[in-house]
């Protein structure tokens, strides 16, 4: 459409140069994948994807999205969050859950060395040598470590969006290691692991230890859900070892792991400046943890969201949170759904003592089981 079909490029390089010129102006590249994964099997399409990956290295804001159709609808694995994710990795994961696993697995098998090149040796030489970072005029570079690097990066893009789904399929040792290596090569900036469902009991402790040990330090947004998971307490040390090695943590959501305030304090100390969103949901945070926890959270200068829902926080804890919030110089979004305090019979009297936390929207006593609070 953009090209003039009546003035075909006389040289491969002319055609090659058009895509980078467009990319230079673009915010991102979107790859349209059909059920047969056609574009992932063609060498020239892989070249376009390769160029987009290179562009991302130059400019981290550049996006690379993969979309496919499901009957009349389309679903995408997006590079980072989209508007309707409302800044939530949980929503992103739920949206991407619909992306067919079969395509993800197919994408993981892509090998640039065996891609279809329509038996045009010039194209093959041009593209392969470009990926290898060699002169296009010289003889075809049949094998190069950069081909494997690119294969892994491409695989890593797909794995990073679906690691929990792949883990639920209980991969064998070799498969798991391949997934984790690909993830390391791609070095994603976010990871979402929802292993909350009881049916995921087949995921072994050893597997999860491998996963946490292999996750790259480039990750900045983390969502881990181990609610009702039999492995949650076994892997807690590995989880915190992973979190502590991260270079910069912007958003952290932990569900269903019994936390201790001292562990969280140690972690937050390292990321005071970068943390914008924190959620410790169903993490057994009690009243006696609140003081330590809130003192540390207070130091997080960029914090915008705090979620302490589903924890056994009673009246005293709630009052402490309220008191600490007085020291915040900015507005933060606070969520305290299903905390125990609202079950207290004296809640009506207690809530009058709250200065910063102002419950709203409860018309009847039954609404008290939810306490949506936004400051």
């Amino acid at each position: 459409m953009a090209d003039n079909p009546w003035s075909l490029p006389g040289d491969i390089n002319d055609n090659f140069s058009a895509f980078p010129r467009a990319m230079k102006l673009a915010k991102g590249t979107i790859c349209v994948i059909d059920n047969n994964c056609t574009i992932l099997k063609h060498l020239w399409s892989l070249m376009d994807i390769y160029l987009a990956v290179q562009r991302k290295k130059e400019d981290s804001a550049y996006k690379l999205d993969f979309y496919t159709t499901l009957n009349e609808f389309a679903v995408g694995l997006t590079d980072g969050l989209i508007y309707n994710d409302f800044n939530s990795l949980v929503k992103k994961s739920a949206r991407e859950e619909k992306f067919p696993l079969q395509i993800i697995k197919e994408a993981f098998k892509v090998d640039v060395k065996t891609a279809n090149y329509d038996k045009d040796e010039d194209i093959k030489r041009f593209v392969m040598n470009a990926i290898a970072g060699k002169l296009r005029n010289i003889k075809l570079i049949e094998d190069d470590v950069k081909y494997d690097d690119f294969n892994k990066i491409l695989g890593g893009i797909f794995v990073s969006s679906s690691l929990d789904r792949l883990l639920r399929e209980t991969p064998n040792g070799v498969e798991l290691q391949n997934y984790l290596q690909a993830l390391k090569s791609y070095a994603p900036t976010s990871i979402s692991l929802d292993l909350s469902n009881r049916t995921h009991h087949l995921i072994s402790k050893e597997c999860m230890i491998d996963v946490f040990e292999s996750l790259p330090s480039s990750i900045q947004r983390v969502h881990i859900n181990l609610t009702k998971s039999s492995i949650s307490n076994f892997v807690k040390n590995q989880l915190f070892n992973f979190l502590n090695k991260l270079k910069q943590l912007n958003a952290l959501r932990i569900y269903g792991v019994d936390l201790e305030a001292t562990e969280v304090k140690k972690l937050l100390e390292k990321h005071h400046k970068s943390i914008t969103s924190l959620a410790f949901v169903d993490c057994s945070i009690k009243d006696n943890d609140i003081e330590t926890l809130m003192a540390e959270i207070q130091q997080c200068q960029s914090l915008e969201e705090l979620d302490l829902s589903e924890n056994p926080i009673l009246a005293e804890g709630l009052l402490q949170i309220d008191k600490k919030l007085e020291n915040f110089k900015r507005t933060i979004k606070l969520r305290l759904f299903k905390i125990h305090a609202v079950q207290l019979t004296n809640f009506e009297a207690m809530k009058n003592s709250l200065k910063k936390i102002m419950p709203y929207h409860f018309s009847s006593v039954s609404d008290l089981r939810y306490l949506p609070l936004i400051l």
Binding site: M1, A2, D3, N4, P5, W6, S7, L8, P9, N13, D14, N15, F16, S17, A18, F19, P20, R21, A22, M23, K24, L25, A26, K27, G28, T29, I30, C31, V32, T38, I39, H42, W44, S45, D48, A52, Q54, K57, E58, D65, Y67, T69, F73, A74, V75, T78, I82, Y83, D120, I123, A130, I131, A132, G133, K134, L135, R136, D149, F150, I153
Partner: protein, 161 residues
Amino acid sequence: MSSSLNVNDYSSLDDVAMNGIPCLSTFNGVGNRSPDDRPSLGFKIDRVEMRGITLQQLEDLLTEVEDNVTFQHIMENIIIPRTKEKQCSYIETIATREQKTTWCVVFSLDQSFKDIVTVLKQHSKDRQLKSNDYYWMHVRVDDYIFFSLFLSVIPLIKYLF
């Protein structure tokens, strides 16, 4: 991540963006035309990267064809005939101004055109794109080879019929 493409061996993105591609930048070698000199239908766009397409323009095109056609069908039955007279790109036949690329699209000729539009519709919604955001869609070299063959047989078909 370390860069593995030695841009000096080819053209860096900057160089490529600054230096035009002569064979793609003019109407069949006629030369540059000012906007005042433009064809009554469409708009002459010299720079290939300024030839993006809006979702609306794609949806308009979709209304002209059956649901199950491939992009190849669009090329053969719409793009080639409509660009023949001006010997230009399809975008230049429908644009009224430059259409600066916002997103690049990687697709293949044998994909369903409707699926491509469905995907871009969802993508446009997900990425909150506006009506003046443009998708850049091009035909790759291996596809060019196919079309070279296709175009080369047109005179023969005319001769025979």
